[in-house]
Each structure stands twice: as structure tokens, then as C-alpha cells.
Amino acid sequence: MEKIEAQGDGDLILVPVNKVRLINSSFQSSPYAVKIVSDKVFKNNDTFVEINPLTAHKIGLSQGDYAMLKTLNGSFKVKVNLFEGIMPGVIGMAQGLGHVGENKYNNKYIHGKGMNINELMSPVPDTISGMDAAWGIRANIVKV
């Protein structure tokens, strides 16, 4: 049985997190839903990532620090949110941010908020089903 591994190199694994108040697909959340997303998910122009305090401590990251999150597909400047509930060694980032609207579809209440984690992710083909497995990717995070 072939084992599918997270791509890239990096000590940690970046996973998307479904936040119940954000639609994590091409549909957009409504302004009222975007309004109630926690300020530990995105705040002003900053997107947060969740890291276990043990992991953060090893890397030298504290709550609210800016950091560079890097995968083989690119890097984002993010802010750190420490959360005991996430597994050590894993970085969680909300999926469903980073919608952009163009021209008459540009809605300032919902567009341009946060970063789209899909830009950092890489699906891996599952040779048996032919579908893409897109769950985690190896990542590094460094304080800036």
C-alpha cells in the first residue's frame, strides 16, 4: 500500500483548519459571518496561525509574534496564536480567507481579508483513486 506523505521539507506540518464561521470553498461568507470571525484568526491585515505552545517555545515564538511561514509553494508573513488544543508539531491556518473580488464583485466587507492557505498547499495525487489528497504540507516557521 502506497503511503502518501506531506510534500516538501520542513520540521512542522501545515494543515488547513475549518473555521465554522468561514466557508472554506469558493463560496463567500456573508458580511455578518466575516464580522464574527475571531480576532485570533485574522485581525486588520494579519492572518494568524495556531501553534501549540510547546512547539512555539522550541522555535522561540510567543503569542502575537510575526513570523514567516514557508512551504515549498511560497511563504506568508503571519501572526502567531498559541493554542493548547492543537497537536505539537502542527501549524493550523484557517481555510476560507483571502477571497478577492474584482470590479463590480468587489465587496469591501468580505474581500481582501486574510490570506488564502491554498496558495501554500500542494495536493498529492493518490494513484489508486486518481484523486488529489490535499491535507497537510511540510512547513517551517521562523520569527521575523
Binding site: 464574527i36 485574522f42 493548547e84 488544543g85 497537536m87 505539537p88 466587507y109
Partner: protein, 277 residues
């Protein structure tokens, strides 16, 4: 107790929220905001000036992975009965213009937007942060004015607003009962937007003075102690301050019940005191 002309007992509308059912989805928040014409800005990430009459907080039990547990707590206005449950809510007592008032026939703390001159004393008084100030005038994106609820007045800047237990729905239910020549309204005729919207049925709303209502059966409020719940799994936030809120919470988890109030180190057992009857 004020008796109505048909000898019915005064209502005491309240809410019971099951914290083991709440998923933190925020439907209650969204339903409340759209029901009550709550304004929104482009950037609502500063939660200290973001108006959410119903606000869902997230708590953790403070333990490390993998023993971390979280709990979501929806917090509407508590409609406090105040000291002795006599209607001296912390906010009602301090408003200098009587822009907020305690209604003895429903137990609801009102907010009169046209009377409020924005001194914010009530906001200083409320320990639950249930009150919100209009720091800006609302801007409704063009076309959205048509979606506003006609039963709820929008507010201009400079006044305080808060959860009203969807009082306009109470008025509508009373009107219906009147037209149908009934004296009183039934339990399901007056339900708040948040209770209606909750997909997990975590929020139950009704008359705490009516032993037939679900809210009464869930918490068994003690009328001799300001409505304190007799049900041991139920609690009210900041019970020890004596605010006598009308919103009750239920949880099987003791750490959640303990998080409802403050205890001096070493005296955590105090929280069992009022739940052992």
C-alpha cells in the same frame, strides 16, 4: 409581583443555554444581528468596538494537549434582576436619563434609543459587556436598507444598544393573541432570533415563572433566592455578584461550571454551595 388584570402572573422571560450542545457556530450571533439591524463596518476585527448583542466566547480548560477541552459560551444581555431580584439591575440603577428600564411584567431590561444621550455609565456598570456603543453612524450598503427589519429601530451614533430578548417579537405575539381574543401567549409564540436559529437547539427561551415552560424545567429557578438554579448542573455567570441574571447555562463538565464565577484561590469549593440543593 405585578399582577395583570386577568390575574395572570407576571412573566419573567429567560434563557437556558446548554454549553455541551453549543458548537460555537455563531448562527445565533448572525441571526441576532440581522434580526435587530445591527450595523457593521469594513473592518470588524477590533472586537472592542464591534457590536454583537449576542457574543460567543471561547474558553479552554487550561490543560495541555491532548487534554485540552474547549467550551463556547453564547452571551446575550443577562436582563439582570439585580440585587434581591427587585429590578435594580446594575445598568438600570445607574442610567441618569432612565433610558434603560426594568419591565416588571416581562423581566426584560429595555433600552430606549431616543432617550439615551450616550454617557456610557451603563456600560461601565455591566460586568458582562453586554452593552455596546455606537461609535459610528451605521452605513447600510446601498440596497441593504430593504433587508432591514421594520420592527426594530436602527440606532444613530452616540447611543448605547444591547440585546432586547427580541422584544419586538413579544409585541408581535401579543398582538396576535389580542386579535385572536386570547389572554396570553404560548411558549412557542415568542422565541428570540438566536433560540430560533441555533442548529443544535442549545438555546432555549421561555418564561421562568411558568412551570410548564422548558426553561423552568431545565433549571428550576428558586424564587426565594433571586431565581438561582436548583438544578446542580445549571449555573449563572457571576452569580456571586448578586446581579440575578435571567440567562442560565447548563453543562455536565465541572470545569465549565466553575468558569462561570470567580473564586479566591483555595475557595473553589464555594461554587458547589449554591448548586447542592
Amino acid at each position: 409581583m405585578i399582577k395583570k388584570h386577568n390575574k395572570a402572573k407576571a412573566h419573567k422571560f429567560g434563557m437556558v443555554i446548554d454549553l455541551d450542545k453549543c458548537t460555537g457556530c455563531g448562527s445565533c450571533m448572525v441571526a441576532c444581528m440581522s434580526e435587530n439591524n445591527v450595523p457593521f463596518k469594513e473592518n470588524e476585527t477590533n472586537k472592542k468596538d464591534s457590536i454583537t448583542w449576542m457574543h460567543v466566547y471561547r474558553l479552554t480548560n487550561g490543560k495541555s494537549f491532548p487534554d485540552t477541552e474547549i467550551c463556547y459560551i453564547p452571551r446575550p444581555c443577562m436582563h439582570c434582576g439585580g440585587k434581591g431580584d427587585h429590578g435594580h439591575s446594575p445598568c438600570v440603577s445607574v442610567c441618569p436619563a432612565t433610558a434603560t428600564d426594568y419591565d416588571y411584567t416581562t423581566g426584560i431590561v429595555s433600552q430606549i434609543y431616543t432617550r439615551c444621550f450616550g454617557c456610557r455609565y451603563c456600560m461601565a456598570a455591566c460586568p458582562y459587556h453586554a452593552r455596546y456603543f455606537n461609535w459610528w453612524d451605521p452605513i447600510w450598503p446601498s440596497g441593504m436598507e430593504k433587508t432591514l427589519s421594520p420592527d426594530v429601530s436602527p440606532r444613530m451614533r452616540g447611543v448605547v444598544e444591547k440585546c432586547s430578548f427580541c422584544f419586538h417579537r413579544y409585541q408581535a405575539a401579543k398582538d396576535t393573541a389580542y386579535f385572536e381574543e386570547r389572554e396570553d401567549i404560548t411558549e412557542d409564540e415568542y422565541q428570540t432570533a438566536c433560540a430560533q436559529a441555533c442548529p443544535a437547539n442549545a438555546i432555549v427561551f421561555g418564561d421562568l415563572n411558568n412551570s410548564e415552560h422548558e426553561v423552568y424545567k431545565l433549571v428550576k429557578p428558586d424564587p426565594y433566592h433571586g431565581g438561582r438554579p436548583k438544578e446542580p448542573k445549571a449555573f449563572r455567570l457571576l452569580e456571586r455578584l448578586g446581579t440575578n441574571p435571567k440567562v442560565y447555562y447548563i453543562s455536565e463538565r465541572e470545569w465549565v461550571r466553575k468558569a462561570g464565577d470567580n473564586y479566591v484561590k483555595g475557595k473553589e469549593k464555594d461554587h458547589k454551595k449554591h448548586n447542592t440543593e
